[in-house]
Amino acid sequence: MLEVQPRDKRGFFILPQAPEGAGYYVYGNLQRMPHSGHMAQYAHPNLLSLIFYIEREWQAIDDRKFGVGNISIAEGLGYDKHVSHRKGLEMDIRPMRKDKLEGQSARVSRFDDVYDRNATIKLIRLFLQHPMVTKVFFNDGEVQKTIAGGCVRSLQGHDDHLHIEIREY
């Protein structure tokens, strides 16, 4: 019998957990519980559409996968010291790595040798080209200079992930 996809009271589904051939992988956890990352990946339908669009475009230009982390938990409650991530409209994305490491252990910050700035710029550009994207936080000043126009901003704690927000409608 097929497993029924969990759906919360908002009607949101969990991001498919790295289906075969996808251009993204998933990471993260909830309250440091192992294997709980999916519980923090309830996404607004618009965000799911965006992720599916970007992963397709990304696969056309790069054979690595990008990592998708926290989105929101069921019913949009607060969790793990996120001040937002309640409406399924925001997500955390890891910067790109130079290697092809994926999964929970593939963490990377802008200070690491394995951090791939050029690939991260390509990925952010893809997101910014989409009209739904309203906000990107990531602290790499070189990225901000390259992607002009103040589209990428700095904010405390955003050295090891991009925070991306989309409009609801």
């Binding site: 010291k81 996120h82 906000k135 904010l155 704690g157 090891d160 925070h163």
Partner: protein, 127 residues
Amino acid sequence: MHTRLACCAMALALFSPSQAADKPPAWTGEPRPLRGDYQIYGGTLAEMLPPTRNDWKVAIMVKGELARELFAQLGPDVKQEQACSTSADYRERRRGDISCVHTKEAGYACYFGLDLRTGKGMYGAIC
């Protein structure tokens, strides 16, 4: 004249209690209980790891009356493009390592942290 005085007295009697309700309680210096929680971690808030002797941080969240007072003191709200969320009911204020948010649903909450390796304060929340 008496009528005017009576009107003034009546206006004061009517409006004073409502104005007093908007004011913060008078300062007493009394310690008050806290409401909130904390999270101990290593690594970063976005990529938490088990804490170690050399990497031990705590992120603290306070709610309720203290959060409301901190929010009021921190003002004004950050600009929408710098706030963590553009939701209509979301308000955010920051100064240094303290950030406070208000939403209709969750009320007031403030966040700050400590890094025990340095003994210094740090941020206690991420977007």
